[in-house]
């Protein structure tokens, strides 16, 4: 497993993902705030914080599913921004650049914690490391129409961290597999495999009733 790939502005050029790019559009006054913050203006930096705090914090929260940890990570992301804002040249969307910076902060944090689940190598446990799990049963419930946001949030929080990271990055945040592979230092195939396993686990969780889904999904 390689380390987290360093953030470069080249990496952060907006690209369509999953048919759409779900990044923040430019924010009024953002460019001016960036330029002033680059010049050392503390109030301008605070404005940037106000503009991006929700998106940064929400991303952290989705990736770690823990409020205190997410707040610490959001704090670290903005401190990283303070250190690195002078390197932002403005030829990519700031929100995308900030987004990527945040992802890198979270990944670094999880690696430092040494959680084996953070690895994208398929060694989470023996049953999960044997390639795609097969669906062998008859179904008594079709998921279509049965998932609400709260139920899905709960199910995602139940995922092992490695699965959750890839699911959030790909299906929620819209990163492509090649981008995820670059950030996490794994192969594209590994990213696809983890995503598939994450979705399979979510399906199991939602169908088993271990998390709440509407319309009698239990």
């Amino acid at each position: 497993m390689q380390g987290v790939a360093p953030l470069t502005e080249t990496d952060t050029k907006p690209r369509p993902a999953n048919g759409q790019m779900r990044r923040n559009p430019p924010i009024a006054g953002e460019l001016e705030a960036i330029q002033k913050a680059q010049a050392g203006d503390g109030e301008a930096f605070e404005k940037l914080y106000a503009m991006h705090k929700r998106r940064v914090y929400s991303l952290c929260l989705r990736m770690v599913s823990n409020v205190a940890e997410a707040e610490d990570l959001a704090q670290e992301a903005f401190l990283q921004l303070y250190r690195k804002i002078g390197t932002f040249r403005g030829d990519s969307a700031f929100s995308t650049w900030m987004h990527r910076l945040t992802v890198n902060v979270v990944l670094m944090h999880l690696r430092k914690k040494g959680l084996p689940q953070v690895s994208l190598e398929e060694t989470l446990d023996p049953s999960q490391g044997e390639g795609p799990r097969k669906d062998i049963g008859t179904r008594d419930l079709n998921l279509s129409g049965s998932i609400d946001r709260v139920g899905l949030e709960r199910a995602v929080a139940e995922l092992p961290p490695g699965y959750r990271l890839v699911f959030v990055l790909h299906d929620v945040e819209g990163f492509e597999h090649n981008e995820i592979a670059g950030m996490m230092g794994c192969s594209i195939g590994n990213s696809k495999s983890q995503l598939h396993k994450a979705r399979m686990r979510l399906r199991d969780l939602l169908k088993s009733g271990q998390v709440t889904a509407k319309d009698g999904a239990k």
């Binding site: 997410a70 804002i85 998921l143 990213s191 979705r199």
Partner: protein, 80 residues
Amino acid sequence: MINISADCAAFQEQLPELIGENQDPSAHPHLATCENCSELVRDLLYIAQQAKLLLPLHDPSPAVWEKIEAGIDKEPKAKK
């Protein structure tokens, strides 16, 4: 409970690649004859679609900014 067939196993081996490439596997020949795998594919695509519901944003507590300010005070000046 239905035992998985060789065809199902072969199809499901391909699924991470098929869905991972954002292809629509619905037209795969195996699905024309296998309701179990068809339902699996429908569910997985539905989960991916519903993931977009997770975009709503949350606010951090005010303490986060206070800690950032305290952290900035300890930092050297930002690079220009």
